[in-house]
C-alpha cells in the first residue's frame, strides 16, 4: 500500500486544489456559464468568495440546541468536539481524501458555513474543497467557524489516527459518529472491505432524507407546560490557564468488561458508575483545596451528563438532539462516601432521564427562541444576551461535564482494524477540565480535555479507578514539560 504524505497545511483556497474531488453532476442553470468552482478559481482577484450557488440544500436554520454556540465562540471557547479512531495500519491520506469527498456529498447539512443574518445565525451551503489536514499537538485550536468559506468540521490524520473535529453547531455525538462511521466504511471500501449500509452507516450514493436535518427539538416541544426548575450555581475547579491555543488531553484506557463488572458490583450502569467516580474525584479536589476548609461556605459539586434524546423521543435527525442530567452532591452536608454518591447519582439520573422531565427543558429552549419579543432583537444584541444566558443557565450550574457516547458501534466488517476510539472535548475557561468517554470493542477510553495547568481532577479520577482494582493506561499530549504539572497540584 502506498502512503501518501500528509500535506503540511491545507491548500490555499485561491489555488485550484480540487484534483482529488470527484466531478459533481452539473446543475441546471450553471452549465452554460461554466461550473461555479471554475469561475471561483479562474484567477480573478477576488478576496471574498461570494455565493455562486443555490441548488438543493441552499441554507439551514440552526437547531434549538445550536443557537447558543455561535454567540459564545471565542479563542477560548470553540464548541467543538473530536472523535478519533486509532487504526492498526498507517493512514493512507490519499484514500482518506477520496473517501471524504465521496462521503460528504451524502451529508449536505454538514457542507455548510456559518453566516450572520440580521436576527439569527444561519448555515449556508459551502462549495469549497475540504482537504484532510495534518493533525497537531493541540487539536481543536484556531478554527474557521466564523470565517467565510470555512467548514464547521474537519478531518485530520496523523500516523495511524483519523480524527473528526466537528462543531456542536452542526451535530451532537450521535450524528458525528454516523458521519465518522460512514467515512471509515468508505475508506475501507476503497481498500476492498465491503460494509453493509444501514441506520448507523450511510451509503455515500444514497439520498439524504429530510428527517436527517429536522430540528427534533421543535417537534417535541409542548407549549404551555411548566419550565424546569433552575438549579443553584456550582463549584468550579480552580487553576491557572494554559497558554492560548493549547490544551491538555489525558486519555485513560480500560478494559470495558472489567469496568462493567465493577459497575455491576455497585448496582450501577457504566455511565452512573463513571459519573459517580467523577463526582468523587471532584470532591477529592475540593477537599484538598485550602480555601474550602470551611464546609459551610462550599458550593455543591454538580456534573453535566448528556443523554441522547433519540433514546427517549423517536427521531433520526443528525442535528443536535441531546439534553443532560445534572447529578450533584452538596458537600456542605458532609463528606460523601463513594457508595452514597453512586446511590445518589443513580437516583438523580433516573429522575432526569424521564421523557416528561426532558420535555420541560426541550419546551423551555424552543419556546424561548420562538418568543416574538426575543426574535425581533438584532443578532448583535442577541449575542450579548445569549452569552449571559450561557453563563447563568449553563456553565454556572455545573462544575464539569462528563459525556458517555456509549459504544462506538463500528460495523463488524472493519471494527477489527480499529484499535481504539476516543472522544475529546475541549474545555472552556469556566469548566476548565471536562471528560468524554466512548467504548470500542473491549476498550473503554476516557479522555479529559483541560485548559489549566493542574492535573488534579484527572489524577483523582484515574487513581480512584486504580484503587477500585481497575487497570488504567494513561497517555497525554504533554502540554508542559514533566514536573510542571505538579508545581501547583492540590493533591499529594
Amino acid at each position: 500500500m502506498t502512503k501518501n504524505p500528509i500535506p503540511e497545511s491545507p491548500p490555499s483556497p485561491k489555488q485550484p486544489a480540487e484534483k482529488a474531488a470527484p466531478e459533481k453532476p452539473s446543475r441546471p442553470g450553471t452549465g452554460a456559464r461554466g461550473s461555479p468552482r471554475a469561475r471561483l478559481y479562474s484567477g480573478t482577484r477576488a478576496y471574498s468568495r461570494e455565493r455562486l450557488y443555490s441548488g438543493e440544500h441552499p441554507w439551514y436554520a440552526l437547531d434549538h440546541a445550536a443557537i447558543i454556540y455561535p454567540a459564545i465562540l471565542s479563542d477560548k471557547i470553540s464548541a467543538y468536539f473530536r472523535i478519533q479512531a486509532t487504526l492498526i495500519d498507517q493512514v493512507d491520506v490519499g484514500l482518506l481524501q477520496t473517501a471524504l469527498d465521496a462521503v460528504r456529498q451524502r451529508f449536505p447539512y454538514f457542507q455548510i458555513e456559518l453566516r450572520k443574518g440580521f436576527f439569527w445565525f444561519f448555515l449556508e451551503r459551502n462549495e469549497n474543497p475540504n482537504p484532510v489536514i495534518q493533525d497537531s499537538r493541540f487539536p481543536m485550536q484556531k478554527l474557521l467557524t466564523r470565517k467565510r468559506g470555512g467548514y464547521l468540521y474537519r478531518i485530520r490524520a496523523h500516523d495511524k489516527r483519523i480524527a473528526l473535529e466537528i462543531c456542536h453547531i452542526l451535530t451532537d455525538g450521535s450524528g458525528a459518529m454516523i458521519f465518522l462511521r460512514s467515512l471509515l466504511a468508505e475508506y475501507y471500501r476503497l481498500q476492498g472491505i465491503h460494509t453493509e449500509y444501514g441506520q448507523d452507516v450511510f451509503d455515500p450514493r444514497g439520498k439524504p432524507a429530510p428527517s436527517e436535518w429536522e430540528d427534533a427539538f421543535s417537534r417535541y416541544a409542548t407549549p404551555g407546560i411548566p419550565e424546569p426548575v433552575r438549579g443553584t450555581s456550582a463549584w468550579h475547579l480552580p487553576g491557572l490557564p494554559l497558554p492560548l491555543h493549547t490544551m491538555r488531553i489525558t486519555t485513560g484506557t480500560l478494559a470495558l468488561a472489567e469496568v462493567l463488572k465493577k459497575a455491576k458490583e455497585y448496582g450501577a450502569t457504566l455511565t452512573v458508575y463513571l459519573s459517580a467516580v467523577f463526582l468523587a474525584a471532584l470532591q477529592d479536589v475540593q477537599d484538598a483545596h485550602p480555601r474550602q476548609g470551611d464546609r459551610r461556605k462550599r458550593k455543591p459539586l454538580r456534573l453535566q451528563v448528556p443523554a441522547n434524546l433519540r433514546n427517549f423521543f423517536p427521531s433520526t435527525t443528525l442535528r443536535n438532539f441531546s439534553l443532560y442530567a445534572l447529578p450533584d452532591i452538596d458537600t456542605r452536608l458532609g463528606h460523601y462516601e463513594f457508595k452514597e454518591i453512586v446511590t445518589r447519582v443513580r437516583a438523580m439520573m433516573n429522575l432526569a432521564y424521564d421523557p416528561k422531565e426532558l420535555a420541560r427543558t426541550i419546551t423551555r429552549n424552543v419556546m424561548t427562541a420562538k418568543n416574538p419579543f426575543i426574535r425581533v432583537i438584532p443578532l448583535t444584541l442577541k449575542n450579548i444576551f445569549m452569552r449571559s444566558v450561557y453563563k447563568s443557565h449553563g456553565e454556572n450550574l455545573y462544575s464539569s461535564l462528563a459525556t458517555n457516547v456509549g459504544m462506538a458501534r463500528l460495523p463488524e466488517s472493519f471494527s477489527g482494524k480499529v484499535l481504539r476510539v476516543d472522544v475529546i472535548l475541549p474545555s472552556t475557561p469556566g469548566l476548565k477540565t471536562v471528560a468524554g468517554m466512548i467504548s470500542h470493542r473491549d476498550a473503554l477510553s476516557i479522555s479529559f480535555g483541560s485548559v489549566i495547568e493542574r492535573t488534579d481532577l484527572e489524577r483523582a479520577f484515574f487513581t480512584r479507578l486504580v484503587k477500585d482494582g481497575l487497570r488504567v493506561k494513561v497517555e497525554s499530549n504533554q502540554v508542559t514539560e514533566p514536573g510542571k504539572e505538579s508545581a501547583h497540584a492540590l493533591l499529594q
Binding site: Y47, R137, K142, R154, T463, V466, V474
Partner: protein, 240 residues
C-alpha cells in the same frame, strides 16, 4: 508495562514521567524515549494559519480599497462643484487634501519596509500640497516664501533629531535633552524664515527667549542623564 508508582496507572513504554503527577517512571527495558510513541504529533500546525491572507496581500487590498475610496470621493466632490458652479472652484482644494491623505496612507503600504523612502515621499508631498494650495488661484503668494521653507526646515530638523537619538548608545533621559535642543533650533529657524519671508528685521528675538529657556533645561537633562540616571530607560519612567 511500566506504571507510575504514585498513581498506579500504566503508561506507554518510553514515557519519562507520569502524565498525571509527573513522577519519573522507572523503565528497565527502554531507557531512551522513543519519539514514535507520542500519541500526538509534536508540531503545531493549524489550518487557520494557511487560510489567512498574508501581510502583503492585506497591504495590497488596503491600497486598492483606499484608492477606490479616494477616486470616488474626488469624483463626487468635482461633480457636486460642477453642478452648483458649472466650473471647478472649491472642489479643487478639497480634492488636493483628499489626495494628500491618500498619499500619506498609501506610501507606507506601497513602500513597506523602506521607511526612509516612504517618509521622503510623504514629506515631499506635503510641500507639493502647500504649493498646489497656494497656486490654485493662479499665483504663488505665501508658499515659496513661508510654507515650503517652514515645512522643509521642520522635516529636516525632525529627521536630524531622530537620527541623533537613534545613534545614542544609551537611550535615556538624554533623549529629552536632544529633543529640547532640537526644539530650540527649530524655533530659531522658524523665526528667521518668518522674518525673511515677511521682510521685517532679520535679527531673531522671541525664539532666542525660548531657546534661552530650553537650552538650560537640556543641559540639566544631560547632566541628569550623565551623572544621576545613567542608563535609565524612558519606557520605564514614563510607562502609562
Amino acid at each position: 508495562m511500566p506504571y507510575c508508582s504514585k498513581c498506579g496507572v500504566e503508561v506507554d513504554d518510553g514515557v519519562a514521567a507520569c502524565p498525571l503527577c509527573s513522577t519519573p517512571i522507572q523503565n528497565l527495558d527502554a531507557l531512551v524515549r522513543k519519539p514514535e510513541n507520542n500519541p500526538y504529533p509534536q508540531h503545531i500546525i493549524d489550518p487557520e494559519d494557511a487560510y489567512s491572507l498574508s501581510k502583503a496581500e492585506r497591504r495590497r487590498i488596503g491600497v486598492e480599497l483606499l484608492t477606490l475610496a479616494v477616486a470616488l470621493a474626488s469624483a463626487a466632490l468635482f461633480l457636486v462643484d460642477l453642478l452648483s458652479h458649472t466650473s471647478l472652484s472649491w472642489s479643487r482644494y478639497a480634492v488636493a487634501s483628499v489626495v494628500l491623505g491618500w498619499i500619506m496612507a498609501v506610501a507606507p503600504n506601497v513602500l513597506y519596509g523602506r521607511k526612509k523612502a516612504a517618509l521622503a515621499i510623504m514629506a515631499m508631498s506635503v510641500i507639493a500640497y502647500l504649493l498646489v494650495l497656494d497656486g490654485l488661484d493662479g499665483q504663488l503668494d505665501w508658499s515659496l516664501t513661508l510654507g515650503a521653507p517652514i515645512a522643509l526646515t521642520s522635516f529636516m530638523i525632525a529627521a536630524a533629531t531622530v537620527e541623533i537619538m537613534v545613534t545614542r548608545r544609551i537611550k535615556g533621559i538624554n533623549l529629552l535633552g536632544i529633543g529640547a535642543l532640537a526644539l530650540a533650533t527649530f524655533l530659531i529657524a522658524l523665526e528667521s524664515i518668518l522674518r525673511i519671508g515677511l521682510g521685517t528685521s532679520v535679527r531673531p528675538y522671541w525664539s532666542l527667549v525660548a531657546a534661552l529657556a530650553l537650552v538650560p533645561v537640556a543641559v540639566f537633562l544631560f547632566y541628569l542623564h550623565g551623572r544621576v540616571l545613567r542608563g535609565a530607560d524612558l519606557r520605564k519612567i514614563f510607562r502609562l
